[in-house]
Symmetry: C2
Subunit: 310 residues, 2 copies
Amino acid sequence: MRRLLNLSLQDKRQFLESFDYVLTDCDGVLWTLNEPLEGTDRAIRALKDAGKRVVFVSNNGAKSLDSYQKQIAGLGHSASEDDIVYPAISVVRYLQSIDFKGLIFAICSKTFMDILRKAGYEVISGPNDPLPESVDIIVSTIDDKLPVKAVIFDNDFNFNHMKLFRAELYLKNDPNCLLVAGAISPRIFVTPQVDVTGMSQYLSVLEQSTDRKAVILGKPSPRLAEQLKNHLKITQNQRVLFVGDMIAQDVTFGRAAGFQTLLVLSGGTSLEMVEALSNNGNVPDFYTDSFADLDRLIQDATQNIKDATE
Amino acid sequence: MRRLLNLSLQDKRQFLESFDYVLTDCDGVLWTLNEPLEGTDRAIRALKDAGKRVVFVSNNGAKSLDSYQKQIAGLGHSASEDDIVYPAISVVRYLQSIDFKGLIFAICSKTFMDILRKAGYEVISGPNDPLPESVDIIVSTIDDKLPVKAVIFDNDFNFNHMKLFRAELYLKNDPNCLLVAGAISPRIFVTPQVDVTGMSQYLSVLEQSTDRKAVILGKPSPRLAEQLKNHLKITQNQRVLFVGDMIAQDVTFGRAAGFQTLLVLSGGTSLEMVEALSNNGNVPDFYTDSFADLDRLIQDATQNIKDATE
């Protein structure tokens, strides 16, 4: 693991020439909740000018394509549908790849559900509202025997026990009913100071009670890496730089995919956490303070070339 | 493990004389959801006539003292407040024993909460209703910095992620905030055909994310056994017969407490499950089809005495 800006000039040039794709996480890397991170815009520009393809790979299941495009536009860049990868679209691509037909029961955000519906799927969900504390009413409401053929599980702030109960019954009642998950983090950083349990534990509860393993299409699932490689026509894994702020999602994902990995310290990972990583763990190839440092690196590497050619 | 009615006449008499207390689970033993189980009324009568003290020990957190008393009255018996033990009352007794003062955040049924309030505690709860999918609104709603001094966790059909989120923050914000649980089953049998994940996994999620261990006052917690022994002035554990239909809750509880244990097959445990128990596991001392068999056993044992004395 090397600190990016501490590389020698020669190593910086070599690094810059070692990849064609920059796949980058968004939250905590390009922006915090609503604010772009300083210098990100220039770094994307510099990468594009250096001939790199920049693709945005987020685990955020509460955002639409439109809102991703707007947020990227806020950085002064445009991104096509193919440049933005997020759980709902990965799930849709997966369902299309297996020619899925049938009713979907979804535990996810409204936006995620809208994307499924827009792709032509029939989706049911809920209950969101509390139910009367009567077993009879609950069972008759939940155990509806609808012909659900896929349970889809993603981050849902309004996750509740009754949704899990429904999912459990659909999966138990039909061995052919699929269990598909988007991005399910063990922790959700709601603010830099406040993080809470994410949805991955709830998915584990569902997996245990139904004796199933979910098909996962968010980071760090290798299945997402395969989908990305096919979709972006990546043939040489090593010529991809994966940038992220989370060890468990981003570094693990990038390493398992065979990509080069760059961890940035602008989000959920501190320098202390990086220093505590053991060498056999999920150690990124490089780390640096922020995505903006890629601009500085490119300046250094190319300035050096200009100097040499003048 | 012996089948109760297969005992020899001598063993039946010896067994009948070996206990003074019958502590019995309720759901699946005395009644199913709303229906009394056949013969239970006569068995309780026979036990009382034989001089045994019968105490009802349930893990059902959605019922009030009044509703327990009514259901027992439906079996033709009366039960005082001291004869009925259920999670809310065990939690109240625990809080009283440590002279607890302060605000309580509760994840439990309305009935459970009413019992806490009736005991004089100030209790907050929720949210039950879904929240807008906005991190800002959620954080400002949940992270309320109220001086909560105990989080109480029991079965709550309307359990949701936001309640866990609140509990997590109270526990993290105040190292002196207690975590107290009532009865938390790994499975809930909503009907004989339909069982779903219970709340114990959610409590585990909370325990993991806050690095706490809950003080548990439902079966099979040994802490409940201690409370019961004190309250009922039990001095010889072996002179208690604990009757239940669940291996994980009732048999484990009874064995750990040093009681004799009788498993009945009228609820959540089948003969196949009993036969599959290994000898070093949670094997009950006795098993039988139903609580009503205790009536038959007493008839056999006392008939024999009558025959002998005639």
